[in-house]
């Protein structure tokens, strides 16, 4: 058991300040426990989001000692408790109150992405056949819990505030999941280059470092998408072939 100081951001869009809360930290506690303890004992109206407390819903994102993290997965034993621990809201999104930000922009962005469009069913009963190996290719991207920590840390959004031009790493992962879905037939490459602004990403890999699901965002999702966009936009024949190849491999299993 130890006394610790948690320096938590309190305020709303009108302004605010860090406030220090002294509290007991017992063995095994995660940051979310400490913040909730402070809420229950000292600051009833301290605003924060959480749902599952198991790292599965992606609600409790915040910046702990400056690092974007899930509060429910950040153990206090990994923090230097002799110094105050700062907890502040994600910086990339507009503040609502205390640790809660307005992440609705993300939902609007997702809506702009062309949805899944499956090929015709393979079987008369309306079902498809897929090989496990084909399914596996998109699995990494489908683990995303939409915590938006990668969005928070990406300098294109965080510093340059290009929210109208760039959809951010989370949604590049989403597009990668769709593009690698064995059944999908939609073409999003043109959108990626124009509306989705994939060119703004300069592969700093900051997003990959913070992903709590260990998705290799840059190497596995963004770079392959970039390659495809480049192929397609500079070479009409390869563009044709690229589509043809995808279709061919998609039906491969049925044969």
């Amino acid at each position: 058991m130890a006394q610790a100081i948690f320096r938590i951001w309190r305020g709303d869009s009108g302004g605010g300040e860090f406030r220090d809360y002294a509290t007991e930290v017992t063995s095994g506690m995660v940051v979310l426990d400490v913040v909730r303890q402070i809420q229950a004992e000292q600051a009833h109206d301290l605003a924060l989001r959480w749902n599952c407390k198991a790292g599965k819903c992606g609600s409790c994102s915040a910046e702990v000692n400056g690092m974007p993290k899930l509060m429910c997965m950040s153990r206090t034993s990994d923090l230097p408790l002799e110094k105050p621990v700062t907890v502040q809201p994600m910086k990339a999104f507009p503040l609502i109150k205390d640790l809660v930000t307005d992440v609705s922009w993300n939902y609007r962005v997702k809506k702009k992405i062309k949805p899944f469009r499956p090929r015709k069913p393979d079987e008369k009963d309306g079902t498809w056949r897929m090989a496990q190996s084909d399914v596996d290719r998109s699995m990494e991207f489908r683990k995303c819990i939409e915590c938006f920590l990668c969005q928070d840390v990406c300098h294109v959004l965080r510093e340059h505030r290009l929210l109208d031009e760039f959809i951010g790493p989370r949604f590049l992962v989403h597009i990668a999941a769709l593009e690698m879905h064995p059944l999908d037939t939609e073409n999003r490459l043109e959108d990626l280059r124009k509306e989705h602004g994939i060119g703004y990403c300069n592969i700093t890999k900051c997003c990959t470092k913070v992903c709590p699901e260990d998705i290799t965002i840059t190497d596995n999702a963004i770079i392959p998408l970039k390659e495809r966009v480049v192929d397609v936009s500079y070479d009409p024949i390869r563009r044709f072939l690229a589509r043809y190849r995808r279709k061919a491999s998609a039906v491969g299993l049925a044969s």
Binding site: N51, A54, K56, K97
Partner: protein, 606 residues
């Protein structure tokens, strides 16, 4: 005078879990205008946590499977207290509901010939659970969410419904407040679907997420609906107990399936001490035989650790109560011992149980390949909830529908694993369709503004009370309620304790009436906790009263003062309804006999 906005929809859905989203899909497909209100953000509902899979008799892995077997398994699991018509519809329709998820983009693990793979689970005769690794809930919810946002449904995130509105007998809308501003909104609708999920937060130890506070059944009850099966709360035998921060977090049945054994503090493997007579023939005689079973030996019988969830939970409680528990109030679950049997045990465990390995490593500093885990029962699922018509999902209140965990009937006295996700799909779809139909057949009702004003006033009361004598914040009251329910209306119950719980509930209600919150209305969790308290108290009372009324032990409900089944209660539901004087009324109702063809299926598969 409270200021509020009004929104008009044909169908209003409360909740964005699997049931709510599936209902939204079918209601909007029916061409009516749909509003969906959810107190969390989209994609965060408790459904994301589901791991094991969705039960549906696709017959992809074992072609002997079919709806009849699924029906019979579900009824047996529920000890025949299930609504048999729901169990029939569920078994028949689940396969199509799973298949259509694929058309909306969900991806499941595959069989060798490229179809949806299915896995074994307790109580299911054949491999039946469609799944993707251990994150099936996320996959399902994301597929519904991502296809759903293109349907033109209006989604109101972080809006909490605090009251259902009525015109005469009929429900015609709901009053909510949004967290961001704390402003009130009246949703005026022709039909309302409740899809608010579970009640786990009524207990101190639970696997459930923050929003499982029983709002739906409570709102419905106060609007005149009936609740059934409230006494049946499923306690999963193995939740984490240490560190405190993760207390209740689920430890999958798979650990025991892979050979994990339960021991008390003396190192004794206590599950062999008490094997129910009904199961002695199917249970291993020796530790050796049990081990062989977990390694796939078809001649061997199952180890006692794999007896039914309710029995294992009770044995664990007995060890703890009698002072043989582990240091943090659980028992030991050990998988590391298999190194005596397997040379590559460490790799084997990491390969078979990756999520569990990481969960303990990350949250408890425990390497499960080297040391035992501490586990104890955790509140997991509510079989009870709003009583609905099997085909339409409408409650006894016209215009009010319910689907998913907050509705009752399908699972009877005990739910089988995997039958919840399928429940959400089958009955979410039906609720959406029939609510849309109801909306088309009926005119909009009149909002009673006095009722709205009264509800707003009541909701804002905690702000006025500052400094009144005895006023306290909501968190301590909630904590005391959870502790009391855990102690007095937990896994093993008895009359005297439950009577005390009723007195305790009354006292807590008194404290809740004087609850005080600080700050203003904008994103104020203290205020939200105060609002939740009302629901938790209503549900706590309903569970306690139903549990008192059922003087027997059956399924998930067990009583130390009535340890046996009572044949007279074998086909009786306990029904709860709000009386004219505002007090809670309990009544027993006999379940109608099954039609001959369903009865024949049950007999044949007994």
């Amino acid at each position: 005078m409270a200021v509020h906005e009004t929104r008009e929809h044909d169908v209003l859905i409360i909740g964005s879990g699997g049931a709510g989203l599936r209902a939204a899909t079918s209601a909007s497909a029916a061409g009516v205008s749909v509003g969906l209100v959810t107190k969390c953000l989209l994609g965060k509902a408790h459904t994301v946590m589901a791991e094991g899979g969705i039960a549906a008799a696709l017959g992809n892995v074992d072609e002997r499977d079919g709806w009849k077997t699924h029906f019979a398994d579900t009824m047996r699991g529920g000890q025949y207290l299930n609504n048999w018509r729901m169990a029939e519809l569920h078994a028949k329709e689940a396969p199509d509901r799973v298949r259509e998820l694929e058309a909306w983009g969900a991806l499941f693990d595959r069989t060798k010939d490229g179809r949806i793979l299915q896995r074994n689970f307790g109580g299911h005769a054949y491999p039946r659970l469609a799944h993707v690794g251990d994150r099936t809930g996320l996959e399902m919810l994301r597929a519904l969410q991502d296809s759903g946002v293109h349907l033109g449904v209006d989604i109101y995130m972080e809006y909490t419904v605090i009251e259902l509105l009525k015109d005469g007998d009929r429900v015609i809308g709901a009053l909510s407040y949004d967290r961001e501003k704390g402003a009130f909104t009246v949703f005026h609708a022709k039909a309302v679907i409740i899809a608010t999920g579970g009640i786990g937060k009524l207990y101190k130890i639970t696997s459930n997420s923050w929003d499982c506070t029983g709002d739906g059944p409570s709102l419905a009850y106060h609007a005149g609906a009936e609740l059934i099966d409230m006494e049946f709360v499923q306690f999963h035998p193995t939740g984490m107990v240490w560190p405190p921060s993760v207390r209740g977090l689920l430890v999958t049945e798979g650990v025991r399936g892979e050979g994990g054994i339960l021991r008390n503090k003396d190192g004794h493997r206590f599950m062999f001490d008490d094997i129910p007579p009904l199961y002695t023939d199917q249970t291993a005689d020796s530790e050796e035989e049990g081990w062989r079973y977990t390694q796939g030996d078809k001649e061997a019988r199952r180890p006692p650790e794999l007896l039914t969830r309710d029995h294992v939970a009770r044995c664990i409680v007995r060890e703890i109560k009698e002072g043989r528990g582990s240091p943090h109030g659980g028992v030991f679950l050990d998988i590391s011992w298999i190194k005596e049997k397997l040379s590559d045990a460490e790799q084997h465990i990491k390969r078979k149980l990756p999520a569990m390995y990481h969960q303990f490593k990350r949250l408890a500093d425990i390497d499960i390949t080297k040391e035992p885990m501490e586990v104890g029962p955790t509140t997991h699922y509510a079989m009870g909830g709003v009583r609905v018509d099997a085909d339409t999902q409408m409650s006894v209140v016209p215009g009010l529908f319910a689907a998913g965990e907050c509705a009752a009937g399908l699972h009877g006295a005990n739910r089988l694993g995997g039958n919840s996700l399928s429940d959400l799909l089958v009955f979410g779809k039906r609720a959406g369709e029939f609510a849309a139909q109801f909306a088309r057949d009926n005119q909009a009702g009149q909002v009673n503004h006095d009722h709205v004003e009264e509800a707003v006033r009541r909701t804002l009361e905690p702000f006025d009370d500052v400094d009144e004598a005895g006023g306290e914040g909501p968190y301590q009251i909630q904590e005391d309620l959870q502790a009391m329910m855990q102690d007095l209306v937990g896994i093993v119950r008895e009359e005297e304790e439950m009577e005390r719980a009723l007195v305790g509930l009354e006292r807590l209600r008194g404290r809740a009436r004087r609850v005080v919150v600080s700050g203003n209305r904008a994103y104020n969790p203290g205020w939200h906790a105060a609002v939740d308290l009302g629901h938790l108290l209503t549900i706590g009372e309903a569970i306690t009263r139903a549990a008192l009324e059922r003087r027997e032990s059956r399924g998930a409900h067990s009583r130390s003062d009535h340890p046996d089944k009572d044949p007279a209660a074998a086909s009786v539901n306990i029904v709860i309804k709000k009386g004219f004087d505002g007090t809670m009324e309990t009544r027993r109702e006999t379940i109608p006999a099954m039609p001959a063809e369903l009865q024949a299926i049950v007999e044949e598969m007994k």
